[in-house]
């Protein structure tokens, strides 16, 4: 919300600098995001008298300072034709010191052309030669200095400024025409120099979504006195009861409805002071009636709505209009000010008359009864609406307005009549109309302003500071609470401009916040918790997960973190075209923001393959892993199963390229298997088996499933060429493992025993056997181990050979065997005996032959 400094000064006397105001508001929760200087001098950088020693600006600062000797109020005495140009005029201008001739093309001066000396001179913002202003013709704000020039044969050295040139708005349509009473020759900065605070209004602080609200905070923060606006209205018309009546059907949703009436108005433009304030506050001036309603809304926070009374009267064919607030009848619709025909939900509150809907309550007006140039009589609405229902209406109608911005945050019903009075009086003074006597005020459900009781003990318990009841009462009084102190207890009645204070416990917490804000968060001491320590609960799953992360990193893999949102099509790329999907339901977004992020993923492999694809043009060698959940919809519950997975991907050369001789080999199945075995061993898992398996994502001959005891924990293999072709990837083999980390980690033993470190030397021996090609290495190793017994402590395959020497359909496997006993050095005889046993066992079980 944009708050002009000059407007604040209507309500509070301020004796601190603009920067200090910004700082205090920010600290108290009214975050000033920017201060825009509109004429007033910008801060030189440093502000005095502030604790903390922070020397920075604290608030973003923009804008333009108007030089007092260069930019002054000027008075155009006469507007004349330019001798050589139809689109330009000459002006005779008095700047308080002497007369000047200006050349300008401002269209709003043309109506005064060649009318002789003006009986009412036009007051303008006059910039003398050398003045620094914004360039009116460039987009954005660019500083320029006024220089002497010749325009179509007439010398020009000064000008009358537009709003854009002075940094008031983007408007460069014409020059500013100041109000008639502007004193000629006065520095413009003294006349209307200003600064605008841009404040982020939090959802609970509707009370500060107004100039008065900010002034009230500022008064409380600085100890200054708040000067409330006057709500008196001069009414000389007929009693309003003769003109209109009202019926509220849903008091819960519409606790109050106030109507006022003015006639004999003219809808001309409002005076410049009002236009300028509206502009600085971010609203466009329209006409004095609409401007007055907006002005009051900005000023005290209550949105108003003006109806053209004659339009209402014509709907009822001259009968006394009756305003009805109600829920829609089925099928009812309304064409709103923005030209939209709106379908209404059953919770949309409408302001209607007997002929039908007039506006969506608190949100947007209808087109038919809008105030326009012809309007002579105005019916003015000030009402209160249930803020939750307004917010619901906003999201259903997808609409936003200054009024609904405030109503959806909660505006106290007590503001309704004040705003109507204030606006009627403004309209009267601006247009000279006549105000009907009295207001129609239907107030079926006045809110109960909570009374909250707090004690110094509460303050100590919540805030950790010691305050006396007197100090607490003083703080709350500054915020306009009605306070009564009985002994140690402070009873505080919530003022009737705010709805954000609850009752009971909640109210206490709300008051704690008010006390802390006013006391100053920076004055709250810094202590450490002295409370009882909680019992400790371990996090074995997180500890193990982090261990896996560290281990994979130590094995040379880069961790990635990918989007958990994907699309079904995008994810299907990890399977060959036309493969069936898994049968689990997806979690679908109801409101996706992009078409490729619409479901929660089922496959972590698909996520990681996308990252391989992304990096394939950057790196030859890629070694990645991700640990993260997949989201498998369950048939029963509404919430999906979130299953923790681990995916590893490897591709490219085993070694990084270097100027020396390099291992040229590409990473293959066994590189990946090596990593997995290392991981599972590190977790002290036993009974790990890799079984040949087929999975659509993988090469049918280069895929295994991993079993731990009887649990299937994942797959690894070379990615199927048909899958690889789904991605923009080179034809290099790509290895991947897709593991259920949750199942793996669930099986990790809490403790494990160490093997003894041997004290007697081992006996090392090689054993090469020839077997049928189909026989799996695992089987051979298992048989060797089972025949070798406890003396055989290690079996390591060191050569695999196929070729002429052993004949087709056969392979030779050569093992390094280690024999050892814990209690003695083994003799040659003992070892020979075991070896003989192994060879015999293999011959019998595997039909193997010893290779000589």
């Amino acid at each position: 919300m944009r708050v002009p400094f000059s407007w604040l000064q209507d309500f509070v006397k301020i004796d601190i600098s603009i920067e200090e105001i910004a700082r205090r508001l920010t600290m108290a929760g009214l975050e000033v995001e920017e201060v825009q200087y509109v004429g007033l001098p910008l801060p030189s950088g440093k502000t005095e008298g502030r604790a903390g020693g922070h020397s920075g600006p604290e608030t973003k600062t923009t804008g333009l300072a108007w030089e007092p000797d260069k930019i002054v109020v000027g008075s155009i005495l006469e507007v004349m034709s330019h001798p050589n140009a139809d689109r330009l005029v000459l002006c005779r201008l008095d700047d308080g010191e002497q007369e000047h001739t200006l050349v300008t093309g401002a269209p709003n001066l043309f109506p005064f052309k060649d009318k002789g000396a003006l009986s009412h001179p036009l007051k303008v913002a006059y910039a003398r030669e050398g003045a620094r202003i914004f360039d009116g013709h460039s987009t954005g704000q660019e500083l320029t200095t006024l220089k002497r020039a010749e325009i179509r044969g007439v010398e020009s050295y000064s000008m009358a400024c537009s709003e854009k040139e002075l940094g008031i708005s983007d408007d460069h349509e014409g020059v500013i025409l100041l109000d008639e009473d502007a004193p000629t020759g006065t520095p413009l900065v003294d006349y209307m120099g200003d600064a605008v605070f841009d404040i982020a209004v939090k959802p609970n602080t509707a009370r500060v979504a107004s100039i008065l609200g900010v002034a009230r905070e500022l008064a409380a923060l600085t100890g200054a006195k708040l000067k409330e606006p006057s709500y008196n209205v001069t009414s000389k018309g007929s009693p309003i009861e003769t003109l209109v009546e009202i019926e509220i059907q849903e008091p819960e949703l519409n606790p109050r409805f106030v109507l006022g009436y003015i006639e004999g108005i003219a809808t001309g433009p409002s005076p410049y002071w009002m236009q300028r304030r509206l502009t600085l506050a971010g609203m466009r001036p329209i006409n004095c009636i609409v401007d007055a309603t907006n002005y009051v809304m900005l000023e005290i926070g209550e949105p108003l709505h003006a109806f053209d009374y004659d339009a209402l009267a014509s709907r009822t064919e001259g009968a006394k209009p009756k305003i009805i607030t109600r829920l829609p009848e089925s099928g009812e619709s309304l064409t709103t000010l923005d030209g939209e025909q709106r379908q209404l939900d059953d919770f949309t509150v409408l302001v209607c008359d007997t002929a039908g809907p007039l506006s969506i309550a608190g949100v947007i007006g209808g087109a038919e009864t809008e105030v326009g140039e012809q309007t002579k009589r105005v019916l003015l609405e000030g009402a209160a609406w249930d803020f939750i229902n307004i917010r619901r209406t906003l999201s259903a109608q997808r609409i936003d307005s200054e009024a609904s911005y405030r109503f959806s945050r909660g505006v106290h019903p007590a503001m309704a009549d004040r705003a109507v009075r204030r606006a009627l009086e403004l309209m009267r003074s601006l247009t000279g109309g006549t105000v009907a006597q009295g207001l129609i005020d239907a107030y079926p459900l006045p809110p109960k302003d909570p009374v909250v009781e707090i004690t110094p003990e509460d303050v100590q318990r919540w805030l950790g500071i010691d305050l006396k009841p007197k100090e607490m009462a003083e703080i709350l009084r500054r915020l306009q609470f009605e306070v009564e102190t009985k002994g140690n207890t402070v009873h505080a009645r919530t003022p009737d401009h705010r709805l954000d204070i609850g009752e009971g416990n909640v109210g206490k917490a709300d008051l704690m916040e008010e006390i802390a804000r006013q006391y100053g968060y920076d004055r709250i001491p810094e202590t450490l918790i002295t409370d009882e320590l909680p019992p400790l609960y371990g996090n074995p799953d997180l500890v193990l997960e982090e261990r896996v992360r560290d281990l994979l990193v130590s094995l040379g893999l880069q961790e990635v973190i990918t989007y958990r949102l994907t699309s079904i099509q995008r994810e299907a790329r990890h399977l060959p075209p036309a493969s069936p999907r898994d049968d689990k339901p997806y979690v679908h977004l109801a409101n996706p923001i992009t078409s490729d992020r619409v479901v929660m993923r089922h496959s972590l492999l698909a996520s990681v393959l996308e990252i391989v694809e992304r990096n394939a043009h950057v790196r030859d060698r890629i070694a990645l892993f991700e640990i993260g959940p997949v989201f498998l919809g369950s048939e029963e519950g509404a919430l999906p199963d979130e299953v923790l997975k681990l995916v590893i991907a490897l591709t490219g050369p085993r070694a990084l390229p270097t100027w020396q001789d390099t291992d040229e080999g590409r990473m293959d199945f066994f590189d990946l298997k090596g990593i997995l075995v290392e991981l599972l061993k590190d977790l002290h898992l036993e009974n790990i088996r890799f079984e040949p398996h087929e999975h659509p994502s993988f090469h049918p001959g280069k895929c295994a499933r991993v079993m731990i005891a009887d649990k299937h924990v994942g797959y690894l293999g070379e990615i199927h060429p048909l899958v690889r072709e789904n991605y923009d990837l080179p034809e290099t083999p790509l290895m991947a493992a897709d593991m259920n980390l949750q199942t793996i980690l669930a099986g990790v033993p809490e403790r494990y025993d160490l093997a003894q470190v041997p004290t007697f030397p081992p006996v090392l021996e090689d054993l090469a056997i020839v077997v049928e090609e189909e026989l799996r290495a695992q089987e051979v190793e298992d048989q060797i181990r089972s025949a070798g017994g406890s003396m055989l402590v290690d079996v390591r395959l060191f050569d695999l050979y196929r070729g002429d020497q052993i004949g087709a359909g056969k392979k030779s496997l050569a093992y390094a065997l280690t024999y050892q006993a814990p209690d003695r050095t083994l003799t040659d005889e003992e070892v020979a005996k075991v070896r003989g046993r192994i060879i015999k066992h293999l011959e019998k079980k595997l039909k193997s032959k010893l290779r000589s």
């Binding site: 020397s55 608030t59 602080t205 803020f387 416990n505 804000r517 999906p640 990084l656």
Partner: protein, 341 residues
């Protein structure tokens, strides 16, 4: 005879200098010290010399022999040394050639920061508590003091699912309710890390998913002053002992009072720059005293218990620390980005 020995000694010394390698030295040794060398001849002929001459010559022969032998030994060592120096010279490397690159892995930067944050909180007695990504509306909003249609919900742009009442969590705060309900009435001190989701256009400054770390302390005597002290200690550990902090009032529906903790911008030292939006301060975390309604929803009587909560974003902090301009780098996982951490 003695003259002859003098000459031999002189000749040998001269020849020794000329012996430039071990083979030449061997030749020298044979020539001057060998059996058939001149010295050997003199030695063999000693017996035939007159007695009075024999004594003097004998002494001199031994002298010369000893001198030649030690000269040989010295020369031999010298040649050994020379040849070793020679081969060392030949083995000389260009040490400016690049080292052999070793493939290595790294933790993702978001997790690196997460780990640092969690480690500091662990030191302060806050243990990790994790909860699910896909949550009920009730846990994400309702129990956190945001009933249906409450305007405060507008602070979170939410992804809804096709399942009514199920959303992607917009913050890790639902974990506050989970952990309180699990542990009430025990005191609680936990940090809640996790991935959160927001319905937002993906831009350089905004992502649809991001990590968050929240903290929660609940007990019988926990105050706003404790919150301040605890968070300032965290900031000093994380950003350096000299870091300057500022607490200002803010609003969150689930805390009351609420605050924002800023730290002085470390890029411009508080002078104002584009990183700190020209304020000199960086918003680091939101915090506050747990709202009585939230305490009650967690199973704690707000008359007897109080607590504080806070939340921060590891990616945002990582961005500030390393001046990363575009948040999209985190999930794009370009190795040229990841490998810099």
């Amino acid at each position: 005879m003695l003259d002859r020995l003098d000459r031999i000694e002189k000749d040998a010394a001269r020849a020794l200098i000329a012996a430039k390698d071990e083979a030449a030295l061997q030749g020298w040794k044979t020539k001057f010290l060998g059996r058939s060398s001149e010295l050997g001849e003199i030695f063999d002929g000693l017996r035939e010399l007159p007695k009075e001459e024999r004594r003097a010559v004998g002494k001199r022969v031994n002298e010369v022999k000893t001198s030649l032998e030690s000269a040989h030994q010295a020369r031999l060592q010298e040649l050994h040394h020379d040849s070793m120096m020679q081969s060392l010279r030949e083995e000389r490397l260009d040490v400016t050639l690049p080292g052999r690159p070793i493939p290595r892995g790294r933790i993702h930067p978001a997790n690196q920061t997460l780990r640092q944050i969690l480690a500091i909180w662990a030191d302060m007695g806050f243990q990790v508590y994790r909860s699910r990504d896909v949550e009920t509306d009730e846990y994400n909003f309702g129990l956190l003091n945001m009933p249906p249609h409450h305007p405060a919900r507008d602070m979170w742009d939410t992804f809804f699912t096709n399942e009514p009442g199920i959303v992607l969590r917009t913050h890790t705060s639902p974990g506050q309710i989970h952990v309180m309900r699990e542990r009430a009435p025990e005191p609680v001190r936990v940090v809640l890390p996790g991935m959160c989701y927001r319905y937002e256009q993906i831009t350089a400054r905004a992502e649809i998913q991001f990590n968050q770390v929240e903290g929660l302390a609940v007990g019988r005597a926990i105050t706003l002053a404790d919150l301040k002290g605890t968070l300032i200690n965290f900031a000093r550990r994380f950003f350096g002992q000299g870091v300057r902090t500022r607490f200002r009032a803010d609003h969150f529906p689930f805390t009351e009072p609420s605050a924002e903790m800023d730290i002085e911008c470390f890029v411009c030292s508080g002078q104002g720059c584009s990183i700190c939006k020209h304020t000199g301060w960086l918003e680091i975390l939101g915090c506050g005293m747990v709202h009585p309604t939230v305490l009650a929803n967690g199973g704690y009587d707000p008359e007897k218990y109080s607590g504080f909560a806070f939340g921060m974003g590891p990616e945002r902090i990582t961005m500030l620390k390393h001046r990363i301009e575009d948040i999209r780098h985190f999930w794009a996982n370009d190795l040229r980005f990841l490998e810099q951490f």
